[in-house]
Amino acid sequence: MSDAPRWREDFPILWDEDHYVTRRELAKFLTLGSGTIVAATVGVAVIGDRLRPQGKGERVRIEGAEAVPRNGSLLFTYPTPEDPCILVRRADGTLVAYSQVCTHLSCAVVHRPAEDELFCPCHQGHFDCSDGRPSGGPPSRRLPRVQLESSADGIFAVGIEV
């Protein structure tokens, strides 16, 4: 009769053997993972242009936009109440609007009229007011731009340009 305890009949695999992974198995898992990464990268390439909203959206009036003075700014939300945006009237009178969410770690950017830039106080990120591109600090992607339309009824946000 065997000296092994009775529970061993129900659990015949030793703990050490259960956790033993050979180099061949490791190579197999890594290659399988490699294939998965290829599929994910191809997926990003295929659906990449659909990852962010782009183009024409809902037409929403920006309340008080006409009253914004030169070098002034106004906060609003677009396209949903959970998407903060900032409208800026630059020194030359042109109106631009961007998402207020920093592309680095999602802090809220603020307008700095003296530097004609949008500034993220969390990690000292700087964005150019003219096109929303990062001009300093950690952000590497530009701020999504809100497309504006001006009419006799007021100033409207009509879409997001990534």
Binding site: R24, A27, T31, I37, V44, Q54
Partner: protein
């Protein structure tokens, strides 16, 4: 003729090489995702091609390991 000692060294090197290639693939995936989120999804196409090439190299290395084992067993059936 392939020996067990040759195999030990070789397979460790192959495992390390595959791991390095997988890390490069992860970097490519991150770069592709970053480009797509920046509104430039076309950059993901060369990243996909490069990633597929690395996967082919990994598959080739894995095939070499199993082929090595087969040849060894042919010489020594108890191996």
């Amino acid at each position: 003729m392939e020996t067990g000692r040759q195999g030990t060294t070789l397979f460790t090197a192959i495992c390390l090489l595959i791991a390095v290639l997988v890390i490069i693939q992860l970097w490519l995936l991150g770069a592709a995702l970053d480009a797509a989120l920046s509104g430039e999804p076309r950059l993901a196409i060369p990243a996909s091609i490069a990633s597929a090439v690395l996967f082919a190299i990994n598959a080739g290395l894995l095939w070499y390991v199993f082929d090595f084992d087969r040849r060894r067993r042919r010489v020594d059936p108890d191996a």
